[in-house]
């Protein structure tokens, strides 16, 4: 049986330019510290956030990141939701493959950030946008 998730706090950061990506990283770092994540876990989470925020900016033509501190039973974690109203991803399996890129990155953004978190969900509709949800549990 799945335990219900409670949202302790939530904040949304717009992603309209590359400076917003820096602000998103700082927000995630700050909350990860508050949750007492280890330094390595903080770094993984912030790096994943950086990749996904840049994706929303470069591929999705801008969007937002919503950060949430969540609890489920005795455990707590950080959930990050990246949303854009960009062109969407026609082939998600392909986009998750390392080395696949349609922009200026190294093609590690999606697949790489998936490896840096505990839970990863991506939903995309062509012409409507993309929503990526990640969770890292403490």
């Amino acid at each position: 049986m799945e335990l219900t998730m409670n949202i302790v706090k939530r904040e949304t950061q717009p992603l309209k330019n590359s400076n917003d990506v820096v602000l998103a990283r700082q927000k995630v770092r700050q909350w990860a510290i508050e949750l007492r994540f280890s330094l390595v876990d903080q770094t993984k989470l912030v790096t994943a956030a950086s990749e996904l925020a840049r994706n929303a900016l470069d591929h999705g033509k801008g969007g937002s990141m919503t950060a949430e501190v969540i609890t489920s039973g005795a455990k707590s974690g950080l959930r990050l939701v990246f949303e854009d109203q960009g062109p969407g991803i026609p082939n998600i399996d392909l986009a998750l493959k390392d080395g696949y890129t349609s922009a200026s990155g190294m093609g590690l953004g999606l697949g790489g950030s998936k490896r840096l978190v505990n839970e990863f969900d991506i939903q995309s509709e062509v012409g409507k946008g993309t929503k990526v949800t990640v969770i890292r549990w403490k």
């Binding site: 990506v21 912030v46 190294m106 590690l108 953004g109 790489g112 490896r115």
Partner: protein, 131 residues
């Protein structure tokens, strides 16, 4: 506008990245380094990233680009001071920074670069500098 300083020390260029870089700043640095190498005829580039709390694929690509462009212009690049948590994350992300030489400390990086310069002065060419 904020800018990352590129310092000249003899045959070397020294760069210490001390701010949370946004993408435009990373691209600007790439430009600056290549221009300085050709202006000063530098033979080595040392990039200290000990203050960087993350290296994502974009910053990683910038480091790899600087190393590649420097090489084409005849300069070696060494990246020093990567934090252990950053190294762990980079590898998990899937990046191994191919073509980028690394050293643990500024001293070690400097030794690598100055060693390379001395070798060249003695006529023992680096393989990548041979015609």
């Amino acid at each position: 506008m904020e800018k990352i300083p590129v310092l000249r020390m003899g045959p070397l260029l020294l760069i210490t990245i001390q701010i949370d870089m946004h993408d435009k700043l990373a691209l600007q640095l790439q430009d600056d380094v290549t221009h300085r190498i050709s202006e000063y005829g530098s033979t080595g580039v040392l990039i200290d990233i000990s203050s960087l709390e993350i290296v994502d694929s974009f910053i990683g690509r910038m480091l790899a680009n600087i190393a590649a462009m420097s090489r084409v212009l005849g300069a070696d690049t060494v990246v020093v001071g990567m934090q252990p948590a950053v190294a762990i994350t980079l590898v998990e992300l899937g990046m191994s920074l191919p073509g980028v030489r690394t050293a643990l400390t500024v001293e070690a990086g400097m030794e690598l670069l100055l060693g390379a310069v001395a070798e060249d002065a003695n006529g023992t060419d680096h393989e990548h500098r041979q015609a």
